[in-house]
Symmetry: C2
Subunit: 198 residues, 2 copies
Amino acid sequence: MAFSPLVNQLIEALRVLPGVGPKSAQRMAFHLLEREREGGHKLAHTLSSALKQVGHCEQCRTLCENRLCLVCEDGNRDHSLLCIVEGPGHVAAIEHTGGYRGVYFVLSGHLSPIDGIGPEEIGMHELLRRLQSGQIREVVLATNATVEGEATAYYIADVVKSKGIQATRIAYGIPVGGDLEYIDGGTLAKALADRSNI
Amino acid sequence: MAFSPLVNQLIEALRVLPGVGPKSAQRMAFHLLEREREGGHKLAHTLSSALKQVGHCEQCRTLCENRLCLVCEDGNRDHSLLCIVEGPGHVAAIEHTGGYRGVYFVLSGHLSPIDGIGPEEIGMHELLRRLQSGQIREVVLATNATVEGEATAYYIADVVKSKGIQATRIAYGIPVGGDLEYIDGGTLAKALADRSNI
């Protein structure tokens, strides 16, 4: 490459970001060095602090820099209703709906035996401790509607039910505003099977 | 947002990167915090050093951490042939062809009077000094084939010629491997007009 060593190093370092290939990394490096030095300094500083300080909430395991996250700390939430998701981004997505008043448990992704990711790796140990606290009344399984998400949901549902706790799964069906013509067959079949009185 | 303050700050700071919106920034932040802490530390550190140390080559104005860049320092290059480009990424693109043995002058983008970007802003002052050194025999204008790139090339060509130096413009035409059916009309017309003996 025709760049100076430090510029090359920066381009290489930027490739650690997801979805950033050599061209995007080059564009980002030039943008930071040519037009956004202030924003760049702030990014370097914030990234460094976040990596040092942000860990996981002791209770729900979402990313947070304190012992407990804002949701777990909130006395106004229903702490007997536990929603299980695959990652911190999913907590945000559900919070964004504004319709959920329970608390969360954040898995480290989903079960994937092929990649050596079993129950221990996704955080089942901590989840079991949480279930045994006696505080949980219902567990909502909000893992992805993918094969792995499904398998994870079924696995956890079995464990939850064995503790005498109710396990529920978020609904499948056509998305709100969806046009039947463009919905895939699997979703439509599920929507028909799960039809309800109107 | 449902994230802890420091996580939110990191997401916000990542948005300084070009082409990164709220969703991508969130994905990047989680990726760094959950799976790439080491790469993240390296990025923070490299970015910080690069911002501190990388400036512009005194001669060609490309990004580099030394007084002169590798190309300007190279005694084996033809220092009488000067290629003018719009940014450091374009130097890399031309170097990548392996066919150019001259040196460069890197403009800060192109002329854009509407945005208040005139000759001084893109580096004409430094270019004039370079032209007046008496070392330059030919100036190759390799600005983009956009309206602004064209205007910039014509403006600089006038200045170059007024100093008694030869000014050339990179060729327009159909890209190598291009299918005539898919080439836009403007390019095809230019390729026909600039036809040469075979």
